[in-house]
Every structure is written in C-alpha cells, then in structure tokens.
C-alpha cells in the first residue's frame, strides 16, 4: 500500500466532508479557469462588435453579449483571472506584513504591542472608500491601486489574529522549553510560534478570498479599480446595472460566479477550521 | 451476611472505535458491603475509569455495556432509564473526582451551589444552610459562615476537595465513589483527606469505593483492595493481605516497582517490560501473559478464572494454588 505524502492526506481529509469537497472543487476550478482563461475564452473579451450588443444567450454567445457587443462568457472567464490575481496578491501582501507584526506584538516587548495596536486601531477607523478615492487621485486607478487598498485594510485583521494566537502560545510549555535551551527571539518567533499560529491564519485567509473578490468587484464597480477594457466581475456588474432595463442577463451572469466562489471558499475555510483547530490548540 | 451496597456481576463494557470494539472492562465482579471501603488500583488503561463511569451512568455515547449487572439499592443500574439514574446521582450515590477545581461552577458562590445540591430535601433554605455549616465543621473547614459567600476560585485545591466531599455527604449517600481524589493534592493534604474519608465512614456508615493509583493512599484507607489490569480484575484481597502477600504476578511486580520501596538504594528499580495489550484485540488467554515472567502455554491459551486462596482473597492466575 503506497504511503501517501502528508499534503495529499491533508487534501483527502478536506475532501472527506461534503462541504469541504465542494469548496475544494470550487477553489481548484476557479484557479484553473483563471489561469487558463485566455486560452479557453471563445472570443477576445475586448473585441467590440456593437452590432451584436445586448444579445441574449445564443449558440454563438453562450451567455450573450454586453452593451458593446463583447462576449459575456469570455469576459467572465477572463474576469476570474483578475479576481484571482487581486485576491491572492493582496492577501499575501497583507499576511506577509501583518503576521510578523502580530508575532512581535504578541511575544516581543510590551511597548511594541501597545503601539502597534494603536496604529491598527487608527487604520481600522479610516473609511476605506475615502482612502481608496484618495489613492485614486494620487496614483490613478489600476491593479496595484486596488491591491494596495485591500492589502492596507486587511493588515490589521491578520496582525491581530496572529497576535492573539501568539499571546496564548507564548505561555506554552514548549516555548518555555525553547527559551530554556537558549533559543533566540528569531528562532522562537519563526520556528515555533509562527507554524503553530498558521493554522488559524490559513482558515481566515481562505474565508477572506471571497470577501476580497467582492471588495475588488465593489471597488471596480465604483470605478476605482481595474480599468476597461480589462474585464473584472465588478465592472461587468457595473455595466449590467446600467442596462438592467434592457436585460438582466449581465447582472445574473456576473453575479453567479461571485456567489459560487463565495460559498465554495467559505465551505473550504470551515472545513479547514474543523481539521486544524482542535489539534492546533496548545 | 448482609446484602452488599454495590454489587457488580460479570460486567463488560466496550467502546466503539474505527478499528473495532475496544474491550475496556471484561467480566468484572465487585462488591462493596455496608460501611466498607474498597480500593481499586491499576495503571492507565486498566479500565478503572470506565468502571466508575459505568456505575454512575456517565459513560460516553460510544460505550456499550455488553453484559453484566450493577446492583445498587435493589436495582440493576444497567439499562436503568436515564431519569431514574439521574435521581440516584446525588440521591444515594455520590462522586468525588480528581480535580476539585472543576467540581464547582465558577460563577456561583459555594453556598449557593451546596444549597442547590440539597434540592431533594424538602426543607427550607435556612435549614439547608445550617446543614452546610454543620458539614463544614465535620470536614474541617473553618469559619464556615464566611465561606458560604465566597466563590470557588478563592479557595485552594485542598479546601475545594474538602468542600466537594462535604457536598457529597450532604446528599446522605450510601456509596461515595472517590475517583483519584488525592492525586492532585500535596502530601500533607492527602493525609488529611484520607483521615477525613475514614472518619466519614466511621461516623456516617456510608461505603466508599476508592479508585487511585497512589498505592500508599489505598493502603492507609481501604479495607479491601481490587487490582485491575487491562480491563480485568486480577486480584482481590483484604488490604493487609494484598500488600504483604500479593499472589498475582502483576500485583507482585506492581508493588515491587513502586519507588517507595526502600530496599537497596543502588540497584535499579524493577520494572514491568512491555506494554498494556491492545484492547481491541485482547489476548485470548491471560491478559498479563505477554509480560509475565512465569507465563506458561496454558496461560497464553486459556483465560484464568479467579482462584480462592484464602477467605476473601482471590487471584485470577493459573499458577496460584489455594
């Protein structure tokens, strides 16, 4: 009997639960579609053919066309790439900044924790839209603007989470044992504390992906984010609302993938929580 | 011969696990007479915790009672409807557990909780409080009226354990089951609790089932002792007999490895090689045979029945003779 490697067994555990399996399938499908979107789209999403504007679903255009005659299916497929890109990059950025801050706040000198919490509170109290608009004026719209805004506002959440985990883990026996062996601060933070706090972080990150996709959609909807002709689910929704009296198709077809990924990633996150939390408790 | 307060006959309990049923307790016989203190000693995995849970009707959902009876108060507790079992707990049967900190609800005062424990007595609250202060006196808690208004976290472990015993006594039980009550306590406190339990039995006449792995505590408190291994009772004897003339090889090895034995400071302590057998697939014959130095072919094949060596002294071993 071949011995499965640990990552594979982990995936098996996720898939053992029906909701988890659904989430896993959604996540994988989403990633594959996003990465291959350019290849699998029937049309160039930027190709304008006004003569075919706002057509309903047909054999030529499975999901119809938008107000400029662009194929909706292609736009939605390529839009997933935007969604994936923005969510992955901004979450990774936020986690990379937030986690070390949280570690240090939880285990390092007390003044650092106090100061950091203060700063995080300030960030939390800033209105996001205002900030986004300000950034828009300063650097113009685009991928990095959206990523910047989302990452900035996600940092406090991750830092606090890691800080809370670290505070409780920091009292554990194995941390004391590491100190007794002469381990330095770096070793304690990154070899011992971080891997044990990662479980909680992984769960939150997974559940955040649909929120971020939604955020991106919202920001693009407001015109702050991705600019045409690059499609994004948000901009398709935006267009769809303008033409909703002509046809509800655009809104429905852009809304569905948003709902599906939200449900899928939420289920996946819940399943991860079930698997990781009971064992990870110190 | 008076009827025992608690009589367990051929009890078997198993847990359902993904690998199959785990035989935690197999064919255990036990009886506790009125006013008797019976001790159960054994190491991890011997089944003593399962036994206690079975008596109290507090087995987890994965447990199945395969066979046997638990007779208490003229009734068989196995298969007793839940409501009836609930009435017995705190109405004849009382439990004192290992961790005194968890015996009480941290958000209510001690007085309130102990008054609540007497909910079956149809008397006024004033009478109940008087009984509490009385009981505190008996168990050696000073300044009882002030204690009534205090919260559990204000007390030390020893004090709380004494209050837990007081709580058990307030329900006027016929049988107190003490599950490792002194394991978490300091030595000087342990001595006090042991003296308290003995005094309780002397003055109130209740019986006590004392489960512990502290051999010394059992030697000091109990009248009779049962030794359990891998879910089976391997030996039962009056306390002096057991400690002076242990008959079963496991009992002999267990007593020999106790670091409290002060013979020969330089020799390494005797130990018991090997591990407790897997109870999902227990050995067919004697369960101790794989680790026993005297095991014979018969021991491996055939499960030994208790052999009576002397009045009230029995050992389940093929190699002992009456």
């Amino acid at each position: 009997m071949p011995r499965f490697s640990a990552p594979l067994r982990f995936l098996q555990r996720i898939a053992a639960d029906p909701a988890g399996l659904f989430g896993l399938v959604v996540a994988v499908l989403f990633t594959i579609v996003a990465l291959l979107s350019n290849e699998i789209s029937p049309y160039d999403p930027a190709h304008i053919a006004v003569i075919h504007r706002l057509e309903g679903p047909s054999r030529a255009h499975l999901l119809g066309t938008d107000q400029l005659g662009r194929d909706t299916l292609s736009r939605i497929l390529v839009g997933s790439r935007t969604a994936l890109g923005v969510s992955v990059v901004s979450i990774l950025l936020a986690a990379t900044i937030g986690a070390p801050l949280g570690l240090l706040a939880g285990y390092g000198p007390r003044w650092f924790g106090t100061v950091l919490l203060l700063l995080l509170d300030i960030v939390n109290s800033l209105p996001m839209i205002m900030f986004a608009l300000a950034l828009l004026v300063l650097v113009g719209p685009g991928f990095w603007t959206v990523v910047g805004v989302i990452a900035f506002f996600s940092v406090p959440g991750y830092a606090r989470l890691i800080r809370a985990q670290t505070l409780s883990l920091g009292q554990s026996g194995f941390i004391l044992a590491a100190r007794a062996m002469g381990a330095g601060l770096g070793r304690i933070l990154f070899v011992h504390l971080l891997p044990n706090a990662m479980g909680a972080l992984l769960v939150v990150v997974t559940m955040d992906i649909p929120s971020v996709i939604g955020l991106e959609a919202g920001l693009s909807f407001l015109g702050i984010g991705i600019q045409p002709p690059t499609p994004s689910w948000g901009s398709i929704l935006n267009d769809g609302f303008s033409f909703i009296r002509n046809t509800p198709d655009l809104v429905i077809f852009a809304g569905l993938p948003l709902v599906a990924t939200t449900i899928g990633f939420t289920f996946l996150g819940e399943r991860l929580r079930q698997i990781l939390q009971p064992k990870a408790a110190p | 011969m008076t009827a025992p307060v608690l009589g367990i006959e051929d009890l078997s309990v198993s847990y359902t696990t993904p690998h199959g049923p785990l035989q935690a307790v197999s064919g255990v016989d036990l009886s506790v007479g009125p006013g008797e203190i019976v001790g159960i000693i054994g190491e991890s995995g011997c089944g003593k915790s399962t036994l206690v849970a079975a008596i109290m009707g507090m087995l987890p959902g994965s447990a199945r009672i395969g066979s046997g009876a638990i007779r208490f108060g003229g009734r068989d507790l196995v298969g007793l409807p839940r409501e009836e079992m609930r009435k017995l707990r705190g109405g004849g049967l009382a439990l004192v557990s290992q961790n005194p900190m968890t015996a009480f609800n941290p958000v209510h005062t001690i007085g309130r909780q102990l008054t609540d424990f007497q909910h079956r007595e149809g008397v006024s609250n004033a009478v109940k409080r008087a009984r509490i202060t009385d009981m505190f006196d008996q168990v050696g808690i000073t300044d009882p009226s002030r204690r009534l208004h205090a919260y559990p976290h204000e007390f030390s472990g020893g004090m709380l354990q004494r209050m837990a015993i007081a709580a058990a006594l307030l329900t006027r039980p016929q049988l107190i089951i003490a599950d490792e009550p002194t394991t978490a306590l300091d030595v000087t406190l342990e001595a006090q609790i042991i003296a308290l339990l003995r005094r309780t039995r002397d003055e109130q006449g209740c019986s006590i089932l004392f489960v512990s792995h502290h051999l010394g505590a059992v030697a000091q408190l109990c009248d009779r002792v049962l030794v359990m291994y891998a879910g089976v009772v391997v030996e039962a004897a009056p306390v002096a007999e057991l400690f002076r003339h242990p008959a079963h090889p496991y009992t002999q090895r267990l007593l020999a490895c106790d670091p409290a034995l002060d013979a020969g400071g330089d020799q390494p302590l005797p130990t018991i090689a090997g591990q407790v057998p897997n109870l999902v697939n227990p050995p067919e014959g004697c369960r101790f045979a794989p680790r026993c130095l005297c095991a014979t072919g018969r021991c491996v094949r055939e499960r030994p029945q208790p052999v009576e060596l002397a009045p009230a002294h029995a050992a389940a071993c093929h190699l002992v003779a009456p």
Binding site: - | S156, A191, C257
Partner: protein, 324 residues
Amino acid sequence: MIAAEHLGVRVRPGLSAAALLRGHLPKPLDILIDVSLAIAPGETLALVGESGSGKTTLGRTLNGLVRPVTGVVRFEGEVLGPRASDRQLRPLRHRVAMIFQDAVGSLDPRLRVRDLVTEPLRIQRIRPEPDAAEKLLAQVGLPEALAERYPHELSGGQARRVTVARNLAVPPRLIICDEPTAGLDVSVQAEIVNLLVELQRRLAIAYLVITHDLAVARRMSRRIAVMYLGSIVETGPTAEVFAQPRHPYSRALFLAEPSRDPAQRHPPPLDGEVPSLQQRPSGCVFQTRCPHVQDLCRQAAPEEREIAPGHLLRCHFPLGEDPA
C-alpha cells in the same frame, strides 16, 4: 559548580481595575526569599516541598528563565545577578538543561521527534550528524522508529524520555528535573528513575530533582533540600535528613506520606494548609502550623545555621534526637 546565593524572586501581579478603584496597588509577591544552595559536579540534589514552596521557581531561576530581584547565581566562575543580559546567560542555558513537568506540553506539537531532539544542536550552531536523532533515542532506550512521530502520538513515558534525549544532544553539566515522574504510572516511573540514574553514572551529569514525591527524592539523591513557602528550611545528606529530620516541617512532611504498610496508620501530622503567598507570616514561615511554635518564632525569622557537617537548618528550636 553551580550555586545560588541569597536569591530573592518577586512577581508583581497585574493591575486590576477593581483593585485600583478600591485604592489598592497590587502588592508584589515574594516567591523566593533568601534562598541559597549549591550543587557539586555529578551530584544529585533533591528539592522537595509542597505547593507554594517555590521549588519550581527556584529551578527556573537557576537556568536563567526567571530573573531574581536580589542575589546571584554563580555558574562556572560567572556571576549572574539580576541585571545579567541574555548574552551573559547564554552559557548557562547551553550547559544547564531542564526537563519540565508537562513532558508532552514542552514539545512543539508541529515538529517531529527527530527535529525536537536535535534542536539544541541547531540552537548552538552545531550541525547535527545524519543519525544524531537515532543515537539520542537509543541513549534513552527508545526505538528509532519514534523519530518520525509527533508529540501527540507519544505515550507519557515516551514523551518524558524524548525530553531527556533532547537534553543530551549537547551534553549538559546539570539537568534540572522538574517533577520528572509526575503523571506517570508506577511502573513507568520506575523506568524513568532507572534511566536517569544510569545516565548520571555514565555521563557524570549533576541533577537537581524537583519533586513532591519523597520516594523518588530518596532514591535519586545524595543531598536533599526541603522548602516551605519560599524558603529552604532544611538541607542535608538525604539519608541523614530522612532518618532524623531536624525541622518540624520536614518531619511532618515525611510522616505525612501514606505508608504502604496498612498496619501503620497514624493521624495526619499537620493541620490546616499552606498559607497563601499573600499571607506569608512575618517571622518564621512555618509558625502557623508548627506544633512547637513559640513567641520567638513569631517575632523573628530564623537564620540558616549549620547544625552538623553539611546539614543546614532554619529553625529556632531544632528537633533533637527523635525516636519517631
């Protein structure tokens, strides 16, 4: 080799709003008061006492985990006082090892045994040999296969042995054993005691055995120190102290241990409980429970005196020759 001199350890409990509103500033708690002891190379000193005695804190002060407010720790010529920096403490931490009461809890749940036992090597920047983990496990009598396991897959006894193995990675001068047999079955306790004794014989390691189990203390140590409420009340050769304890608390402690002979039943030697640290009496710490207490005991705390060679006592009225 290592000595503590007049150590004092104090904690300041956290502020609570309720206490502040009532106008109380939290009083600092003295965990250790004027504690001195010494351990020679290769010897075993047992430290016994009950809850609140401070024995665990003393152990942790000796390897630098807890900093004293007064007094020093002398280790191999270095003098480490309250202001010692982390860098100064490093040699102490590298040569004085510790095993903790909760064996499984002292192992990082995310690491395999293999990485756990070789960690001291990596901390001291020594590259572990490929079979270092297996060799360490063999030294403590564990099978090589255990190297791939995680802490939650180990039994109590196995986890305890893993913590011992870990401390042998870089051979220490002293191992501080904080309740090495706690929570283990009797037969497993015997195995661990045997293992520790044998390792000492082979590797000439000194031990500080902190325990509430008098049998373990008696079996493993040549010298013993008895603690009560933050002070050491009696120190001396184990055999001598057990045979004739000179401090009333030592005597009561030894008497209190339930004898395994059912014929020997006697009333508990001490009433009441250890006072809480907040209520430490002034004068002799044991006055509230001592059967021989006198006025002097309430007025003045006794100094530590040597009443026989190597036998130190803190008592105004030591017990004489006692036929108990």
